[in-house]
């Protein structure tokens, strides 16, 4: 029999950094004699990563940020014993510093529409019972009891759901192809190999709500006619692996996986497959090679994997987020899902906010939201009052969008037309101190390492583009380089086999499209307008503003700054390594870059 608690303390974003927090909370709750009325629950990621570890106290919705074990006695005494709010632990609005004690009132949360992340941070991911209590596996019960595979496929098609792995192919059509494919043995596969740097929504979802993925998987398997599935996860994501493995075992115990699921006569089981984490490994054929135990390289897809995939058999591969959405579509109907988003892009997208933005974390918003709403309302704007310059969407192979496109709606088609892409929803915000050439160089460096090397265009093309970019950042570029970059970019895009090569030149091409001036400044004027490329900049003290506090002198790792107290200081260019510490620490904006 269930027990009734008056309050649940939901603790998120512990990972392994604050292992003492939950034991401290439990001990204090017990010490105060509250253990029969207050329960401490380890919940999954809530997405508000910059504020972690966070704590949500239900039913009151009181939200505390950056909680440490030392805060526990006061928190328990004030909030759990006496029903009062501890102001110093509440979220503060970044500009007015006003306390916002309730989770629902925080703009980061209030602007979100949570479908994928519906249970994240609200249930204990290790408990199938909690998942069932919030309505889990009801959709599975419904389809097995009252829907034919064709009806499921029709429902998913009508909902307009597109695969959330990046390419955005219609999930219903993929399942239909899988259903129609000939073969007695078919496979249903789950792609948990998230490769973009700064992206962590798939990992967070596997950690926070594993059963929703399993439920969608079994529904998909029933629709396609598969009896065996594989979940591919990079083994480095240890917590996600643990969470999924535990969920599979629990689902088997309850008869939600295995033979005769819910007494329907339908059999399906799933195995975890762990592999090394790589960017190209998320490509469908590369992933199937990895499951087969081969080198994780893509192959040409003249024959679709839905016909001949894993071990040459029909295989249906879906991203974890796609599968997690399916039970909601079954429960709430295709019409409900199709009512959210834009004409071509239905539902919501989980964006991973990173870079120069206040609220770093995961945010789920309706498709079609503008860049401005995402960055400024949900993301809380650019830190330290700096100017917004651009946003890179779609991970390393996406493209940047300048401030002039802030009001552009974000859906698959609009982003692609603007030279960017939805991808898996990685968003990196740039401020005026981000150099477009340097960022392109950084991404190409990443992609050069991640390219599997199978196609010459990708292997050699990215390398040559990187060489040119490096030259430009060092002030050795020529105007002809820009044309070469564009030509190379077009070739790599059109000739390469898989998505990695097809999109790798995007950061360079979109940078040239929107910030050509900045490339020209590097080449012609030998200047880096953002003040980033070390070969092209010089730090200097603005005499009029310097009060001679000596902070920069003490912080300089090279002892390159000298000066008397209360007198303007001087930077010796011969000793300066351009680390920028003086620029960052100066409270009087008296350090300039030229």
């Amino acid at each position: 029999m269930a027990e009734r608690y008056r309050a649940d303390v939901l603790v998120s974003c512990l990972h392994d950094r604050t292992p003492d927090l939950i034991p401290a909370l439990e001990a204090e709750v017990k010490r105060r004699g509250l253990e029969e009325e207050v329960r401490v629950v380890e919940a999954g990621c809530r997405g508000f990563c910059s504020m972690g570890p966070v704590l949500l106290i239900q039913p009151d919705g009181i939200f505390y940020i950056r909680v440490q074990p030392a805060d526990v006695p006061e928190l328990v005494e004030e909030t759990l014993v006496k029903g009062r709010i501890v102001e110093r632990l509440t979220y503060k609005e970044p500009t007015t510093h006003a306390c916002i004690p309730h989770y629902g009132d925080i703009p980061f949360h209030a602007k979100q529409v949570r479908i994928v992340l519906r249970h994240c941070g609200l249930i204990n991911p290790e408990s199938v019972e909690e998942y069932i209590a919030v309505g889990g596996y009801q959709a599975l019960g419904k389809v097995l009891g009252s829907m034919t595979p064709e009806e499921i496929i029709e429902e998913v098609k009508e909902s307009g759901l597109r695969g959330r792995g990046g390419a955005g192919f219609s999930t219903g059509r993929k399942w239909e192809a899988g259903r129609k494919a000939e073969g007695e043995i078919k496979y249903m596969l789950v792609n948990g190999d998230e490769g973009d740097p700064n992206c962590f929504m798939d990992r967070a979802l596997m950690e926070a709500d594993p059963h929703s993925i399993l439920e969608g998987l079994v529904i998909g398997a029933y629709a396609v006619g598969a009896h065996q599935g594989f979940i591919y996860i990079p083994y480095e994501h240890t917590r996600a692996v643990r969470s999924m493995r535990n969920a599979v075992e629990q689902a088997r115990e309850y008869g939600l996986l295995g033979e005769d699921i819910l007494g329907s006569g339908f059999d399906f089981d799933v195995e975890l497959r762990l592999g090394a984490h790589s960017f190209v490994g998320g490509e469908s054929t590369a992933l199937m090679h990895a499951i087969e135990g081969k080198v994780s390289e893509p192959r040409p897809k003249h024959i679709h994997t839905t016909e001949k995939g894993l071990w040459g058999r029909p295989s249906c591969l879906n991203n974890v987020k796609t599968l997690n959405i399916v039970p909601e579509i079954i429960n709430r109907g295709a019409e409900w899902f199709a009512s959210i988003g834009t004409e071509t892009s239905k539902g919501t997208q989980v964006f991973s906010l990173a870079g120069k933005v206040n609220n770093v974390g995961l945010a789920e918003v309706p498709m079609g939201i503008t860049v401005r709403e995402l960055v400024f309302d949900v993301g809380g704007g650019v830190p330290k009052g700096r100017e917004f310059k651009a946003v890179q969407i779609g991970g390393p192979s996406g493209g940047c969008l300048p401030a002039s496109l802030l009001d552009m709606p974000m859906d698959y088609e609009t982003l692609a037309e603007a030279g960017s892409m939805m991808g898996t929803g990685g968003v990196i915000v740039w401020d005026d101190r981000t150099c477009v050439v340097d960022v392109a160089r950084y991404f190409l460096d990443f992609l050069r390492d991640e390219s599997c090397g199978k196609c010459t265009s990708c292997r050699e093309g990215i390398r040559r583009m990187l060489e040119i970019l490096t030259r430009i950042t060092e002030g050795q570029g020529e105007m002809a380089d820009l044309e070469t970059l564009e030509t190379l970019g077009r070739v790599v895009k059109s000739v390469s086999l898989c998505g990695l090569g097809k999109t790798a030149p995007n950061p360079v091409l979109s940078g040239l499209r929107y910030f050509r001036d900045e490339y020209v400044a590097h080449i012609v004027d030998h200047k880096c307008p953002a003040g980033v490329c070390k070969a092209l900049i010089e730090y200097y003290v603005i005499e009029d503003l310097c009060i001679g506090c000596g902070l920069c002198r003490r912080k300089c790792p090279q002892e390159a700054i000298s000066g008397e107290k209360k007198e303007p200081h001087v930077i010796d260019p011969a000793l300066c390594i351009k680390c920028g510490v003086c620029f960052d620490v100066c409270k009087f904006d008296a350090v300039g870059v030229r």
């Binding site: 029999m1 269930a2 027990e3 009734r4 608690y5 008056r6 309050a7 649940d8 939901l10 004699g33 029969e36 009325e37 329960r39 239900q58 039913p59 009151d60 759990l80 014993v81 006496k82 029903g83 009062r84 609200l122 249930i123 019972e129 909690e130 069932i132 209590a133 919030v134 309505g135 596996y137 009801q138 019960g141 419904k142 097995l144 009891g145 115990e253 309850y254 008869g255 939600l256 819910l262 007494g263």
Partner: protein
């Protein structure tokens, strides 16, 4: 763990488990127990435990929260019941023995137990 054999069994299990996460699900009924020093000294904690047990036993959908002292220390333990847009009804001198009748009459039958009421605040 016995395997679930049908959707009905799953739904039955869900109903059993729902009480366990009650504090996290929406409800229109909130029972507030005064938990200032005065309340605690007068036995508010025991009253709250009785409320929690009664809600669980009858599978009633309601949140139980605590607040600090609201000033009427002589009538503690004070228990407020608020439902939807109805006025908040405050009961005074509540003891664990009074809890079953309070829940039965106010929450189930919808009749305020007037003889125990000490005040009302518009919802």
């Amino acid at each position: 763990m016995p395997k679930l054999k049908s959707l009905e069994e799953l739904q039955k299990l869900r109903q059993q488990l729902q009480g366990d996460i009650k504090a996290r699900t929406e409800t229109s009924t909130t029972i507030t127990v005064g938990m200032g020093t005065c309340g605690i000294a007068a036995g508010a904690r025991e009253v709250m435990h009785a409320i929690l047990a009664e809600l669980e036993a009858r599978n009633i959908d309601a949140h139980v929260t605590t607040v600090g002292c609201i000033g009427m220390c002589s009538r503690e333990p004070l228990v407020d019941i608020q439902q939807g847009g109805e006025p908040r009804v405050t009961y005074g001198d509540v003891t664990p023995a009074m809890v079953p009748r309070l829940i039965e009459e106010h929450l189930i039958q919808g009749n305020v137990v007037e003889e125990w009421v000490v005040g009302r605040v518009a919802g």
